[in-house]
């Protein structure tokens, strides 16, 4: 019986994240527009874009290979699975033990790997720029992320997100310096990974400043749609991770009634809204930096994460 | 002199002597080369008999575990060298580097040299051995100078002066040994016989023994080519005919070292005498370090391998100086394998130098391409001499270094590092010699590959399997040397 519930929850979560992801992005766009005194697109614009793109035919470059064609599906699948494994509104997902936090990071890595290859596939200069810069950013962002993971898992004695969330709710955690540092580090990583300002500008159309956009420059039609969904999912994933680790309140634990689950969903949506709100404000408040300032930014994130780990020992010792 | 062993013993000395006499009066060079090889072969056959039939020690001659191996070894190398020398000399005649007159002299001297070395190895008498070693030395002096080029004369003159100083020192040492023995054994021949000396050594006057050992070490050490007494060795190897270089490195050095060993047994039999170890260790180590660095700057291929001989003599002396069953065993093994390997290398080098018409390393390249057999032979030889498996020298060096490191870490470290330095030099030259684009004449060499093959095969086999009898002899001697 419990298995069935867990299965339902698991599937439900998969659909929820898939459904909510574009909405979050749309929400952020809308907010940014408002903050810039613009009308901005409606909240459902991303859904419309996706549907339109899906219906369009794919324009494929002559020099494109099968890598270019399967990459969108793999990227989408990997990101979706990763997002599905993060406890959003309920822990104790059926397959949550299939991948712990390290594995989730690595899954996103796989997606990025494929995307970077796709960027190189057609053999144009912009794709190359995109891939090489993306990998450079990743090469600093991912270690930082792992340092944060270290901090959390050393604290919780586990790399399972659900366990971490559980232990965060626990009484003995309290407020810690290292947790604060980890949070800041994680935020910086999230910004970088999702190609947000100041690291990258998702809305730019000036090629030389693009990173993520340059990589997918050659994509069109359903392929582009899938990649867009993947990036929406990624944003959602990061917000959910932050939410479930640092603000684990209101997550339903397996075995509770349907009511609890509903409540949890509501809480979760609220958390997402808050996250999106903060992101929008941050993005409008700050300006994009040059590509070669990014390493400093992420290096700082890495250092913060490492500092968090070390401080953890100090506080433990004390 | 009735039992077969003694007859064989006599034959080993008589055949070379007769051969020398015959060859001295034989005008035809073609047949003389054959006679030379034949005489050497007969000697070898007789020596092989000694392995099974061992005569009782007489007043002048003796066969024991120590020298039985070396007599067989030296007769074997002498034989293979004589075969090699046949083809080598034929070429020298063609290009006119040697005249038939000199050739007669050469062959006579060759047999005389063999006579001297066999006598030195077999003699049971300190004085007799001294005479024999000097005879061998002087003959080689004459053969080194045989080309009569200024460089050859210089080499021979250097060899002669240093050698005869060595003679003098060794003789003085011998006299001192006699004096030490006389007061115990009494006057007369007994006081110079090995068998007697070793038995009565404990009663000898230690001071006399110490003094004598200093002189003997320096005297015979000059022949061994230990630094700083080595100066004659490289030039003598480089300027003389290659067969003589092979015999020098392969045999004469061994014989001189053999003499030192004989005296070391006497020394170590006397508890009161100072341990000969430190002296030998320091001389040996000095030789190894010095020679391995000298290998780098050698433009002349034969001179380079001569320095490598110095290095290996140093290793052997070091091993015996360290003592202990392992190190001594290793030293004996290394003596045997080094003479085989080094003479094989000189065979290759001789043919190579003849084909390419030069001894300059820089002008010989890509041998494995132009002359595969010679080239790979050289590669194998160098690999063996550098102490890499699957050749036997690896075993001896393994034993020396490991057994030393447990006792004297610093010494072992110095030894090991200088071995590495030597390896570096040899490989560096080998790269140029054997690999890369071939250079110079690539006409097929009229060479006798059998000696090279035989030597290298033995060395390879020794690395994997040693005959138990040999092991037993070596182990007995090793025990004796402590």
């Amino acid at each position: 019986m419990a298995i069935v519930v867990d299965l339902v929850v698991q599937l439900g979560q998969m659909l929820v994240v898939l459904a909510l992801a574009p909405l979050l992005t749309g929400f952020v766009r809308k907010l940014k527009a408002h903050l810039l005194r613009r009308q901005g697109p409606p909240l459902v614009q991303p859904y419309r874009d996706l549907l339109r793109l899906l219906r369009k035919e794919v324009v494929l470059a002559h020099s494109a290979s099968w890598v270019f064609r399967i990459a969108p599906y793999l990227v989408f699948a990997a990101t979706w699975v990763a997002a599905a494994l993060v406890p959003t509104f309920a822990t104790g997902l059926l397959f949550s033990y299939a991948a712990d936090m390290i594995a989730i990071v690595a899954l996103l890595g796989s997606a990025r790997f494929m995307l970077a290859l796709a960027g190189l596939d057609v053999g144009t200069s912009f794709g190359g720029i995109g891939s090489s810069r993306e990998m450079m950013i990743a090469s600093l962002a991912e270690p930082a992320m792992l340092m944060v993971v270290f901090t959390l898992s050393l604290l919780a004695g586990s790399t399972q997100l659900s366990s971490i969330a559980a232990s965060m709710q626990g009484p003995d955690v309290g407020l810690r310096v290292s947790l604060a540092l980890a949070l800041i580090g994680l935020l910086m990583v999230a910004i970088a990974e999702n190609a947000r300002i100041p690291v990258d500008n998702p809305a730019t159309h000036l090629e030389l400043t693009m990173v993520h956009e340059a990589m997918i420059l050659e994509y069109s039609g359903r392929h582009l749609a899938l990649i867009e969904v993947a990036s929406y999912l990624k944003l959602l994933l990061y917000v959910s991770v932050i939410a479930c680790v640092f603000f684990p309140w209101g997550i339903a634990v397996s075995g509770q009634g349907a009511a609890a689950y509903l409540a949890a969903v509501v809480v979760y949506v609220v958390k997402l809204a808050a996250g999106g709100f903060l992101l929008a404000i941050f993005e409008t408040a700050i300006a994009k930096m040059r590509v070669f300032r990014v390493p400093d930014f992420l290096g700082a994130a890495l250092m913060l994460g490492f500092l968090a780990v070390l401080l953890l020992f100090v506080t433990r010792a004390g | 002199m009735s039992d077969p062993g003694s007859l064989v013993l006599a034959a080993i000395l008589a055949i070379p002597a007769l051969g020398a006499a015959v060859l001295a009066f034989l005008p035809d060079d073609r047949t003389s080369a054959w006679i030379n090889a034949l005489a050497s072969f007969l000697t070898l056959a007789c020596a092989l008999v000694l392995l099974v039939e061992r005569p009782a020690p007489g007043p002048f001659l003796i066969v024991d575990d120590l020298n039985v191996v070396f007599i067989v070894l030296s007769t074997f190398v002498a034989f293979t060298t004589s075969v090699f020398s046949g083809t080598y000399i034929a070429h020298e005649l063609e290009v006119g580097k040697l005249t038939p007159a000199y050739l007669r002299f050469y062959h006579a001297m060759y047999q005389t040299l063999m006579f001297g070395m066999n006598l030195a190895l077999l003699s049971n008498n300190v004085g007799l051995m001294w005479v024999a070693v000097e005879l061998a030395t002087l003959t080689t002096v004459l053969m080194v100078g045989i080309y009569r080029t200024p460089a050859a004369l210089e080499a021979a003159w250097k060899y002669f002066l240093l050698g005869s100083v060595g003679i003098a020192l060794a003789l003085f040492g011998t006299i001192l040994v006699y004096l030490a023995a006389r007061s115990v054994v009494g006057e007369g021949l007994d006081a110079m016989a090995w068998s007697v000396l070793v038995e009565n050594a404990p009663a000898f006057d230690p001071a006399l023994l110490n003094l004598s050992f200093v002189f003997l070490l320096l005297g015979y050490g000059t022949k061994v080519g230990l630094v700083p007494l080595h100066a004659w060795l490289p030039d003598a190897h480089a300027e003389g005919p290659t067969p003589i270089s092979a015999v020098l490195s392969g045999l004469l050095l061994n014989v001189a070292l053999f003499a030192v060993l004989r005296f070391k047994t006497v020394m170590s039999a006397n508890p009161a005498a100072l341990a000969p170890g430190p002296l030998m260790v320091s001389l040996g180590l000095l030789s190894v370090v010095f020679a391995s660095f000298m290998l780098y700057r050698r433009p002349d291929i034969k001179r380079m391998f001569a320095y490598s001989s110095i290095e290996h003599m140093g290793i052997i002396t070091f091993a015996f100086g360290m003592g202990g069953p392992l190190a001594n065993f290793a030293g004996l093994l290394h003596m045997t394998l080094h003479s085989l390997t080094k003479s094989a290398i000189f065979f290759c080098v001789g043919h190579i130098a003849q084909v390419k018409g030069t001894q300059q390393i820089s002008e010989i390249r890509g041998l494995t391409v132009s002359h595969p057999v010679l080239g790979w032979g050289l590669v194998l030889g160098v690999v063996a001499i550098a102490g890499l498996p699957p050749t036997g020298i690896f075993m001896s060096e393994f034993l020396v270094v490991t057994s030393t490191f447990a006792r004297q870490p610093v010494l072992a470290l110095v030894l090991g590092l200088s071995l590495l330095v030597a390896l570096g030099a040899l490989l560096l030259r080998l790269n140029g010699l054997a690999f890369g684009e071939p250079h110079g004449s690539s006409e097929p060499a009229r060479a006798s590959f059998v000696p090279v093959a035989a030597h290298l095969a033995l060395v390879l086999c020794a690395g994997i399997w040693l005959p138990p009898a040999l092991v037993a002899w070596f182990q007995h001697v090793a025990a004796l040397l402590n």
């Binding site: - | 200024p150 003159w157 100083v165 050698r298």
Partner: protein, 220 residues
């Protein structure tokens, strides 16, 4: 009688050392050769004396050999060579005579020091003689290394041989093997030297080693 014998033996041995010093001091070719003749003469006397006191008749042979070959034949030959090569000019020692002398004295001291610990049981006669013989040998070596000229080097070498004979005869009852071998080696030595001087003269006009070592291998 025995004391006297010992003293005479000492006299000769000491005399030999003295002559070696004279050799070191001597810096004229002809003088050097004559000095060497004297050296050989003393050796032969000392050997003869040893033969007398040891009742060892075979030693007389050695004495005779020394007298004939080294005191007469070789000096004459060397004179010939010197004259033929026309090197009557003074030969400059490497370091000053005084220094050489000092070194020589040091060597004598060293040889005595080394011989001292030998137990008297080995025979005082032997011990003293050995000390002197060793000093003669060392002085000969010193001469070889302190002179440029090949002829004087040969002489130095032969003085070493004399020292050896002194030692050998001093060793009582040493079998004939040794004396013969000594004579033998000197013979060969002379032959070879002769050959070499001859050839060398054939190719260069001097036996000065400076000229020789121009031709060593691998000139830098």
């Amino acid at each position: 009688m025995d004391r006297l014998a010992l003293d005479v033996a000492h006299l000769f041995a000491g005399g030999l050392v003295l002559v070696s010093f004279m050799l070191l001091y001597q810096d004229r070719m002809t003088g050097l050769v004559n000095n060497f003749a004297l050296h050989a003469l003393v050796v032969s006397f000392s050997v003869a004396w040893q033969a007398y006191i040891q009742q060892a008749p075979h030693l007389y042979i050695t004495a005779a050999i020394a007298l004939v070959v080294k005191a007469v034949v070789i000096p004459v030959a060397l004179h010939r060579i010197v004259v033929r090569l026309g090197i009557h000019r003074t030969i400059e020692p490497v370091v000053g005579i005084g220094l050489t002398m000092l070194a020589g004295i040091g060597l004598v001291a060293l040889s005595i020091m080394v011989m001292l610990p030998i137990t008297a049981e080995a025979g005082t006669l032997a011990r003293e003689d050995l000390a002197f013989a060793l000093s003669v040998i060392l002085l000969g070596l010193l001469m070889m290394v302190s002179r440029h000229n090949a002829v004087s080097q040969v002489i130095g070498f032969m003085s070493i041989e004399n020292g050896l004979i002194l030692a050998a005869t001093g060793a009582k009852g040493m079998p004939l093997v040794v004396e013969i071998s000594v004579a033998f080696s000197i013979l060969i030595a002379l032959i070879v030297i002769g050959i070499f001087l001859f050839r060398i003269r054939e190719r260069f006009d001097t036996v000065d080693i400076h000229v020789l070592h121009e031709h060593r291998g691998e000139r830098p």
